[in-house]
Subunit: 582 residues, 2 copies
Amino acid sequence: MYRSHNCGELTISNVGEEVLLSGWVQKSRDLGAMVFVDLRDRYGITQLTFSDERDTELMASAQKLGREFVIQVEGKVIERTSKNKKIATGEIEIEVSLLKILNKSDLPPFTIEDNTDGGEDIRMKYRYLDIRRNPIRNNLVLRSKVSMEVRNYLSNIEFLEVETPYLIKSTPEGARDFIVPSRMNGGEFYALPQSPQTFKQLLMVGGVDKYFQIVKCFRDEDLRADRQPEFTQIDCEMSFVEQDDILEVFEGLTRHLLKKINNVEVGEFPRMDYAEAMKLYGSDKPDIRFDMKFAELNDVAKNKGFKVFDSQELVVGISVPNCASYTRKQLDKLIEWVKRPQIGATGLIWAKHNEDGTFKSSVDKFFNQEALAQWSEKLNSKTGDLMLVMAGDIDKTRKALGELRLYMAETLGLRDPKKFAPLWVVDFPLLEWDEDSERYHAMHHPFTSPKMEDMHLLSTEPGKVRANAYDLVMNGNEIGGGSIRIHDKSTQEMMFSHLGFTEEEAKNQFGFLMDAFQFGAPPHGGIAFGLDRLVAIMGGQEIIRDFIAFPKNNSGRDVMIDSPATVSEEQLIDLKLKLDLK
Amino acid sequence: MYRSHNCGELTISNVGEEVLLSGWVQKSRDLGAMVFVDLRDRYGITQLTFSDERDTELMASAQKLGREFVIQVEGKVIERTSKNKKIATGEIEIEVSLLKILNKSDLPPFTIEDNTDGGEDIRMKYRYLDIRRNPIRNNLVLRSKVSMEVRNYLSNIEFLEVETPYLIKSTPEGARDFIVPSRMNGGEFYALPQSPQTFKQLLMVGGVDKYFQIVKCFRDEDLRADRQPEFTQIDCEMSFVEQDDILEVFEGLTRHLLKKINNVEVGEFPRMDYAEAMKLYGSDKPDIRFDMKFAELNDVAKNKGFKVFDSQELVVGISVPNCASYTRKQLDKLIEWVKRPQIGATGLIWAKHNEDGTFKSSVDKFFNQEALAQWSEKLNSKTGDLMLVMAGDIDKTRKALGELRLYMAETLGLRDPKKFAPLWVVDFPLLEWDEDSERYHAMHHPFTSPKMEDMHLLSTEPGKVRANAYDLVMNGNEIGGGSIRIHDKSTQEMMFSHLGFTEEEAKNQFGFLMDAFQFGAPPHGGIAFGLDRLVAIMGGQEIIRDFIAFPKNNSGRDVMIDSPATVSEEQLIDLKLKLDLK
């Protein structure tokens, strides 16, 4: 036996007991006549004491213990003289009578402390040591808890977890697939799923009624910061439902998680249509923890002689609370910020709503006090606020101002990680124009059902057709998205044709789904949550990497195991493949 | 809204309510003046009634309903005149007032009935229809329940579910990996995990203490019947444990599952060492639901003038209950059976223990009544039993007799699928000799720790070294296996060297693990269960395919989606690969 207790459970009530503990040496303090060792495991830290007086030999062994040594001790629980109220075991310590070194440790390449001295790269290479640190370990504990709560909640309302296959078929639509050569079927390939989309729809055709799965998905994309080639989805689908049924179930789930995990009560989630979200926040995933809604100023700012505005589609602004005191330098910095290529604005107009009720702007030459008061009225600015205004074509300007809004909120500390502001964004467009291929692509995916009342626009103004598609947004992040699906063959065929599939391509790639629709497919719809991001946000952070046990870096490499790597010539021969590296 | 209730929940207490139901037409009976329709969903069947008298038009629509049409009905719950006690809803029916066809259905290629007329191939191609059938759907429900129970049980005793990566690194040891070309790292490949073995060990090094994961694993093997290229493991690992700790925890889990799912109480699991299992059952996964243990007859059967026995290493037999009445024809069939190449025995000797206490054997020329009585004593045969005896070299003969033992039990109906007989087989050999490569391979895997007391044999008689390795066997199937792992670098290095790894190969493939062992690896061990098989056995069957939503066939093909398939030239160019099909 290695232990009678773990390192987090002994309290004053155990005083007098003989115990056996195992764990890691967190640190030791050698006071000459005594050595104190903090023994650590996943559950906590227990203080061990050794004294010269009690046992010289044991004391000598204790003095030789290095950080991260794995040891086993036997001893008696005694009450501490100086108690540590901060930890659960802080009232007791162990008077050690036997010490066994289970494994030595080299000096770790970084300190195993909450605030480590290790940089990102070295921590990734020695991820197993990083996991010993409380912040990372707590993230994994949180993730495990969230997954369990999701499963319990959904199982309790009759969802079945069904495992769908990982070795599926490549479909060129959407992002790039990872493919897997088949040895038994030379020259053919499986693909790893980007999502179990078609399988969950087939489960609905199969009468499973309510499906979920917490499942790995794969996308071979050029990785932006904080994207992973493999990621985890909470994937869900229901039969005989309309959009409202789905929103209700998954609002319930999300509320349950926030209550159970974060102990936060959230009321009914607001719903906003896509068009409104773009108009008020310049984003389809608005952060509504704070206000600063957009107001459009075309009426009051155009045709006042300021050419920069006059020639543009849209003049739009926000009122930033309590920033009228910004210095010239601060304002110039803001202007520089919006001109960076990532934001891509051509400029930024500011107008201070001074404490005395007057206005001071960067365009005083064109806009007098009365004119600026009109801006103020639209933007709902108060004394002490700073109005920030942009102009340009609608989509780009909204997007840039949306970024600026987030930046200002970040600067002002308005993005409180302990506050949770969920929101449904609904009525997404069915299609979006793709500049590169010069055709419409499915905004969600090709299985999303158009709104019946917009169907007549499909041939004439496809960009205006709305879909039965929805996103769950939290704190400015999309944490889930889904749609009501097409469930009849003719609509699906029409959709494929609008997306530029030939009949043959549609049949070749999705023939099995179209076949399935001929045998009594029920109306159905679903949603998928990004577990990595959901957990990160619930953990008060936005970097998903810290919530994944063994993440990959931005080049898709696992630097710990050094993968991907070359394989043997025999393996390639078996697979009937040759490298073509030129 | 599509439904107020599902098709399995209305009872006599709902009589008088107006309800809305949706589902599939299971069947309809047209009695001329009335039509009865069985409406089906995942939850059950509800009877609908239409009558000419009540509504001629509605009646006409009902008459046109085909099997598997998806319909929605509104109506009143009324008490049935002739009740069906077999189903939960059998006391009521719905007097339909509104009928809406949600989707039509072509005639399914096989009947959606418990006993379908569809063969294996067609059911696989239309798996989504097969899933509509109760037997398959119930299997998926069972699987979902088993997974939830596993998660709840392990979470309650502080196991964390941690997701390990799917895109890892290929290691030539063991079975073949599926590999995944990396586009971002041209010429390099990920591999899909055969198990998360090294990652779970790294989690132990990381102090996770108790880990589990229900996880897909992948093996590119030539598929034997009822093997799948992707399969699911319940993967577990614990720190600071000895073998007994692990057996205790997972015996607890298994007992919990049998109680919760099958409502079967099982006592303490017997433990048997590998050597004993081979000696008594000719198998490392004995089915102990029935007896028929082996008895060795060398003492009493050799050197009696029967050359077939005299020249062999081992003469061994079983006593089959109540088969002394077997006819010559039946006995000849048994002899043919053991001679098949799959069994590979050269022959079979039989001896009947007649009802009158005499014996009659196929070798009466060499063995008189007294001699056969000695066999009987060894084999513990009773009057009416049939003794079956084989001779040959030890390993092959035991194996063949083990197969015959199972065959006889099957024939006699002794393999009761509702009976559960779990068993720990322990003390497996560390190494096994591989004829092809003419060297020792790790029997479990290269991370398994040898028994300390056998270490001295490693250089001289490696085949005799036992490992701290164990299997959980149920009803003749291995449902789980694991070991205590090596946790220090020098032992692991020695192990790799004994397995024929060069230092460079070991470093290249497992350097990260050896590195990890230098930073305070705790003693640890674990186990992995095959979920597919576990669920199949709990479901009273042994064919795993019926417990997988979308299985592949024996050529590794998914015949429903037609995968694997060719990919586009562009995909291969992106991956810097060429086919080499010659």
